[in-house]
């Protein structure tokens, strides 16, 4: 009785989803627009061609992927090790450390950006990939940490005890039991961190160097300059990649479930 949606609430949900996808549809549509300007002038693939020839965009995409992968990997290591270690530790500054390491997630991005700009300048660190990675790892860690921590809290300690009882050393028990059981949490944290890294404009804006433009920054400057239909083609391709990945993931899960 209670758990039924009326047609009006269904319509509402559909409309909000439409709102979410409307600009995306438009972008996809206009990526095939023959005209360079806003008006519609028939189908064309020229923007995809132009995109493939645009070295700047391609380089920034490469930079962004490199940045996202490396900061994800580093933050997985630091965040997971931290969460696992925290669960086994008791020390006085533990709560403080936890709260401070979570700050990047709650802080308006611009504050972290400004902090890094001034901090790295005073230390005379040259801006580029290194500063970008440091900044991205910092805001990625909390996503991993929180996910892993809550999974660990919900994990029955008996699993690890059973492994120890059956002859596994603490380290071995971690690799055999704890890690596989927290890996879904690591994965979902990493996916979010990856998206955040690929999407970040604000922090990157402050810590990037001249040779390390990221994709979002490249797009930002292109959009500020004006008409850029290549960007639409890029968006379409990325969307395609995301949905392909999602489809693959769903397929993989179904296959795995069948095999089990």
């Amino acid at each position: 009785m209670m758990k039924k949606n009326s047609w009006r609430s269904r319509l509402f949900v559909a409309l909000v989803l439409l709102f979410n996808y409307l600009p995306i549809f438009i972008v996809v549509l206009y990526s095939f627009n023959a005209s360079k300007y806003g008006n519609w002038a028939g189908l064309s693939l020229q923007w995809y061609e132009k995109l493939m020839g645009n070295a700047q965009i391609l380089r920034s995409l490469k930079n962004s992927l490199l940045l996202a992968f490396s900061s994800c990997a580093l933050s997985i290591l630091i965040g997971t090790a931290g969460a696992v270690g925290m669960a086994r530790s008791h020390f006085r500054t533990q709560n403080l450390l936890e709260n401070v390491s979570m700050i990047p997630m709650m802080l308006p991005e611009i504050i972290l950006g400004m902090a890094y700009l001034s901090f790295f300048s005073i230390l005379k660190v040259s801006f580029g990939m290194v500063t970008l990675i440091i900044a991205h790892v910092t805001f990625c860690i909390p996503y991993i940490f929180i996910n892993v921590q809550s999974r660990l809290a919900g994990l029955d300690p008996a699993y690890v005890e059973a492994a120890r009882d059956l002859g596994a050393s603490p380290t071995r028990a971690f690799w055999d039991v704890t890690l596989p059981l927290i890996s879904p949490a690591i994965t979902s944290g990493a996916l979010l961190a990856f998206a955040m890294s690929m999407d970040d404009v604000v922090i990157s804006f402050f810590v990037t160097g001249t040779t390390s433009n990221t994709l979002p920054l490249q797009v930002y400057s292109m959009l500020k300059m004006g008409v850029t239909p290549e960007v639409n083609a890029l968006c379409t391709l990325m969307l395609l990649a995301v949905f392909a990945a999602l489809g693959l993931y769903a397929l993989l899960r179904r296959v795995l479930r069948k095999r089990a």
Binding site: S9, V100, M106, P108, F145
Partner: protein
């Protein structure tokens, strides 16, 4: 007690697992230290060209009360509040209705909502720019329908900026609230109905109070970034709409006034902390549980 390494009689012994150290060091170096540095330079005078001098001053904080800054503060606050209110108004019913669907439909809707997240938000915002352009589809539609004689100026104003803000931040509000609503024990609402509450009464006296943690988490997640997303006001709002984020960016990159940038950041930080403080007070939760 010698020779009895683990003989702690239940007392909390000081144990630091070695795997905590990377996090510890990283946090100290790249979170705590930069933030302390920001606080420090907010009390220093700016140098002629760029950087800071070693002279202590409270001048930066006094300048906050400069009408120019106050105006931006006010504007920024207004934008943040309206963005929060709008996302809440759209997000709550959406999350509520979504939670009422069957589990399969539910997770599909959430997936649909989150999927574009992995595509750069700027690329998506570009969709709105195209739509609202003078020669874009919306204007064309309006003119064809005879609702407008000439292209309306839909872009580069406060409205377009608000649209962009709501668009960019709505998913955060929805997922926070959804996490709360999903955990709801529906039999409690049925009990309220059984005890004589009308659907509306049951909603406002039972459902809403039970989902307050999600609401507040969502509000924090929307309010906090909405003061700083300078690129949205840059791209959709035009030069006229200044947010706190734009102001800080300009102080840093154009005026090269780091101390002022730092001071503005700290003012913003205090805003944020006040908000998170309210969140913790209201929900009694330690972390922002609504965050995915």
């Amino acid at each position: 007690m010698l020779g009895k390494p683990n003989a702690a009689k239940g007392g909390k012994k000081r144990v630091i697992s070695p795997t905590v150290w990377p996090l510890y060091i990283w946090t100290a170096l790249f979170v705590a230290l930069p933030l302390v540095y920001v606080v420090t330079i907010s009390f220093l005078k700016k140098d002629e060209i760029w950087g800071v001098t070693n002279q202590f001053t409270l001048g930066n904080y006094l300048s906050l009360f400069d009408p120019v800054y106050l105006k931006v503060f006010g504007q920024s606050f207004l934008v943040a509040v309206s963005t929060t209110a709008l996302t809440l108004l759209i997000g709550y019913p959406f999350a509520y209705f979504t939670a009422k669907f069957s589990p399969a439909v539910r997770s599909f809707i959430i997936l649909l909502l989150m999927a574009p997240f992995w595509v750069n938000s700027l690329l998506r915002l570009n969709g709105w720019i195209i739509l609202l352009k003078a020669n874009g589809p919306v204007n064309e539609l309006l003119m064809r329908l005879g609702l407008a004689q000439e292209p309306l100026k839909l872009l580069y104003n406060g409205g377009a900026m608000m649209l962009g803000m709501v668009y960019a931040l709505l998913p955060f509000m929805i997922t926070s609230i959804y996490n709360s609503v999903e955990k709801l024990d529906w039999s409690v609402i049925e009990a309220a109905r059984d005890l004589g509450a009308s659907p509306a009464k049951a909603f406002f006296t039972v459902t809403v109070p039970l989902t307050v943690p999600g609401i507040v988490a969502g509000c924090v997640l929307v309010f906090v970034p909405s003061m700083g997303l300078f690129f949205i006001s840059d791209l959709l709002g035009g030069a006229k709409s200044l947010l706190l984020g734009n102001l800080i960016k300009n102080e840093l990159m154009q005026a090269r006034n780091w101390p002022m940038g730092a001071t503005l950041s700290i003012a913003m930080l205090l805003f944020t902390f006040a908000f998170i403080g309210i969140y913790k007070r209201v929900t009694g939760e330690k972390t922002l549980g609504g965050i995915k």
